[in-house]
Amino acid sequence: MTDKQHPDESADNSGASRRDFLKQSSIMAAFAMTPPAAVTAVEKGLHETIATRFEQMSLRVTINGTAQQLNIEPRVTLLDLLREQLNLTGTKKGCDHGQCGACTVHVDGTRVNACLTLAMTTEGCKVTTIEGLADGDRLHPMQEAFIKHDGFQCGYCTPGQIMSAVACIREGHADNPDEIREYMSGNICRCGAYSNIVDAIMDVKQGGQKV
């Protein structure tokens, strides 16, 4: 990782992160402080690989129990990291603007929208996606309940609904159907399976299984 920027900065030393890199690449020094440096690099005829390296930073994050050491552009969202780079496509892109909940994952145990989470901000975090919910071949009780109650049609919002539903119970917001409806309202289902989804969550909650 020595040739990658590392974003952690000591106090009052906000320029330090790039030094390791710049030391190695004096050619970059001429425009190192120009923010969209990669574009400048290309405009100045520099080789693409240099631009690529310049844009990438290191990230350590644990995803579904596996420690990952990655190099990514800071503008990559957690959602696109999962889907386009790690082939964890169970997490869905439904709007890309935090307006539908299809991308819901757990970061350090809380449900968040992966589309508005820059992957870099998950440094040192534990991320759980739908792929990490089941225990091997044994489905999580919420997954079982969604099948039993037919809590979906097209299935596209389903991983986000399930991740949200698990969190809804863990947060203590699944005591009655109305509370579930309110606390699940951040997950849009265009097929309109809400009635069955509420039944599925109530079933798991009342079943008392560990979620």
């Binding site: 037919d150 809400y194 989804i197």
Partner: protein, 747 residues
């Protein structure tokens, strides 16, 4: 099992894939050296591109290509002259000739029209490079407001859209009680959760692999074969899972074809995933429609006449039509009926059928007017409908194949507690909240088309059923498994259903509520052929059931029985082994006969709601919903019920929250996102009770099953509007019924 037997509920066959994230949608396939395409959309709605600067984008990191009207690769099938028209044919849009060609000229015909497509090696880089494309425009005034241009309405070509008269066109005028009312619905947008796009890869000069978001893989295959002048057999289209469609993927959109052309040009796979905002402009919408109903009835509550006029929007470059006024022609016993349907070409992207297409629009008007007339007559709205009930189709003068609407009214009324409703509006309160009840009915054509299915029965008793249909969510695969199970007795968990790929046998698009009838019949027929093959073997001389008749045999749990004496039996596996057959593999085409000419075939629905209205703030909440479906034999009860609760959620959105708004000064949407375009949330939808009549239609197909998808929505918005009237005494005739409209009526 026969169609006289009700089907047990079974779990969705693809449920496990969907709850584990294992189901792969088009954008989730990946290929070596795959590239990402991002569309740059026009900022204006009408005019032309004065200049377009792509240099910065081309030089941005990772960019593989920037395509505009200046360098868009040719689409050979579009460039060929056809029918003497030098402009080249479009890729077969369903409703007529297309003049709009993507990235073809500098002309801008609608807001959001692609002006460039940028391809790069990562999604982030393509998106950023797209932002660097800068265009200037020569603007013209865009005509986008239907209301302002109603006078420009034209009657579309074709028999189906022609004016209709039964009896006297304005016979309603002679009635002692009359009403005239205008109803409007706004632009609604399908907004399936999965965004549209395509992943295309040329595996050879004339060999194409496509992962698509389409409601018909075969249709996409045909469109691409035509566009690129290659043999359809060299094109494979795969859509096993699709994240909802609701009609928006009933055609191959120009940007899909463009991606395929670009992929060929750059020699790399290209993936396009559109943005949510582009879902508003590039893949159709439900058109804004203005309707007028004139209705007359006598004092006994008998309809004298109905005149229904509807005007909807279309694009300047293509006619779009739908069956907005259809229902009025046949729903009620009425001697004088006239309908008129017009479209107004506007500077807008072309609409496309959205769930319960025109019928949902028309039913809002007709079923609201029925409620208004019932009120004028001081009749219960159900009673008014019963007084005008018809057992024969007055439009075609022939019997319905099956109609159980009276039973549906009764069961729905019992379930919602209709007896708690007062016919006097605004008379039911719970604290500050006004309570109201409303109902309405819906109907949609039921039909059986043509499809081919393949069934492979293996010696181990397992069965594979194949058909190239797309399952966009309603559970077609589950229905196919149930039907195969019913014919062949193979346990559902031993049946593998394969669909959503052009390598499988031919099937129509998933749309118009026809798949269970059409594909289900093909599955029924091919499984019957498999069963007959078994029966032939079993009844040959020397076989265990020799001398029995094939019709007297029953299949269950891997055994073939003589129905009359179940001690006489043979294991299917033994039978196949003794005939040296590793499998029985049959493919069969299947279609209906002339039954559609003898009978009018429709599915029917009745919707009941209870609403709570807060008069001070205008807030409306649907507090109870009951939907009843009369759609023949229910093949898969779980997935059918899910379609019904989905119709309720969609109907609540249509009634209360959904409206795509245009600022006509710019001709642009101003709420093209899911925060401002309000699809119903979980909190908007109450517990929903679904009731199915579940009686087989005697004629339509071997299962007696009709469609569900459309009727689940059609009419629902009127039930809500009628309930709001019952709660408040105020009628809101333009959807959606938002708090501001309600509150202002009640001040």
């Amino acid at each position: 099992m026969t169609k006289d037997t009700k089907n047990p509920p079974i779990d969705r066959v693809d449920g496990r894939m969907k709850v584990t994230g294992g189901a792969k949608y088009f954008a989730e396939f990946t290929m070596p050296s795959m590239t990402y395409c991002v569309i740059v959309s026009s900022d204006i709605a009408k005019g032309s591109i004065a200049s377009i600067d792509t240099k910065k984008a081309e030089n941005a990191p990772g960019v593989v290509g920037v395509f505009t009207h200046q360098n868009m690769p040719a689409i050979p099938g579009w460039d060929a002259p056809a029918q003497g028209n030098g402009n080249g044919p479009p890729p077969g849009p369903p409703s007529g000739g297309e003049k709009y060609r993507i990235l073809h000229t500098k002309e801008i015909l609608f807001d959001g029209q692609p002006i460039a497509m940028v391809v790069a090696d990562t999604f982030e880089r393509a998106t950023y490079a797209a932002s660097l494309v800068k265009a200037t425009y020569t603007k013209q005034t865009a005509r986008t407001d239907l209301t302002k241009h109603l006078a420009d309405g034209v009657t579309p070509k074709g028999e189906r859209a022609a004016d209709y008269v039964r009896g006297t066109a304005d016979g309603y005028k002679t009635a002692p009680v009359t009403l005239e009312a205008n109803y409007t619905i706004p632009i609604e947008v399908h907004n399936p959760m999965e965004m549209h796009g395509i992943l295309a890869h040329w595996e050879g000069d004339d060999k194409l692999m496509i992962y698509a978001k389409t409601q018909g893989v075969k249709a996409t295959q045909r469109a691409m074969a035509q566009a690129f002048k290659i043999n359809p057999d060299n094109i494979r289209v795969h859509t096993e899972f699709m994240g909802g469609g609701f009609g928006m993927a009933l055609r191959t959109w120009p940007q899909e074809t463009a991606v395929v052309a670009i992929s060929r040009k750059i020699g790399r796979p290209v993936k396009l995933v559109m943005t949510r905002s582009q879902m508003f402009t590039l893949v159709g919408h439900r058109p804004r429609t203005v309707q007028t109903i004139n209705m007359g009835a006598d004092t006994n509550g008998k309809l004298v006449g109905i005149a229904h006029a509807a005007t909807g929007e279309t694009a300047s470059y293509e006619d779009f039509t739908e069956g907005t006024v259809n229902m009025t022609k046949f729903m009620y016993d009425c001697p004088n009926v006239s309908t008129r349907y017009k479209i107004v070409p506007l500077d807008r992207g072309v609409p496309i059928w959205m769930r319960g297409p025109g019928e949902a629009t028309g039913a809002f008007a007709l079923e609201s007017a029925m409620d208004e007339m019932a009120h004028k007559l001081n009749l219960d709205p159900i009673e008014f409908r019963l007084r005008n009930y018809t057992e024969t189709d007055p439009e075609h003068n022939r019997p319905y194949s099956d109609k159980n609407l009276k039973e549906a009214y009764q069961r729905g009324a019992d379930a919602i507690g209709w007896n708690k409703r007062s016919n006097q509006p605004s008379s039911n309160r719970d604290g500050e909240w006004l309570i109201g009840y409303g109902m309405s009915s819906g109907t949609f054509n039921a039909s059986r088309g043509q499809a081919t299915a393949r069934a492979i029965l293996n010696a181990d008793g397992s069965l594979t059923v194949q058909c190239g249909v797309t399952d966009i969510g309603p559970g077609s695969g589950t229905a196919m498994a149930m039907i195969a199970h019913n014919v062949l007795g193979v346990p559902v968990d031993k049946i593998k259903v394969e669909y959503g790929d052009t390598s499988l046998p031919n099937a129509p698009m998933q749309g118009g509520s026809t798949i269970t009838s059409t594909v289900g019949s093909a599955v029924y027929d091919v499984c019957t052929t498999v069963k007959n093959t078994l029966a032939d073997m079993a009844t040959k001389s020397g076989s265990p059931l020799a001398n029995s008749k094939a019709n007297d045999l029953t299949l269950a749990d891997g055994m073939l029985y003589l129905e009359a004496d179940r001690s006489k039996k043979v294991a299917v596996a033994d039978l196949m082994r003794s005939n040296n057959l590793p499998a029985i593999d049959k493919t069969q085409q299947s279609k209906g006969g002339s039954e559609g000419e003898k009978y009018s075939m429709y599915s029917f629905s009745v919707h009941f709601v209870q609403v709570r209205v807060h008069p001070v703030t205008g807030v409306v909440r649907v507090s109870k919903a009951v939907s009843v479906a009369d759609s023949g034999r229910i093949v898969s009860p779980n997935t059918a019920a899910s379609q019904m609760i989905g119709g309720v959620a969609g109907g609540i959105g249509m009634a209360l929250t959904e409206e795509a708004v245009i600022d006509h000064r710019f001709g642009r949407y101003i709420n093209n996102n899911l925060a401002d375009y309000h699809v119903a949330t979980s909190a908007d939808v109450p517990h929903t009770e679904t009731i199915v009549i579940d009686k087989p239609d005697p004629y339509i197909n071997p299962m007696g099953a009709k469609g569900m998808g459309e009727i689940a929505l059609i009419g629902f918005a009127a039930a809500v509007s009628n309930a709001v009237f019952n709660a408040t005494g105020q009628r809101i005739r333009d959807l959606p019924i938002t708090p501001d409209k309600v509150m202002q009526k009640l001040v």
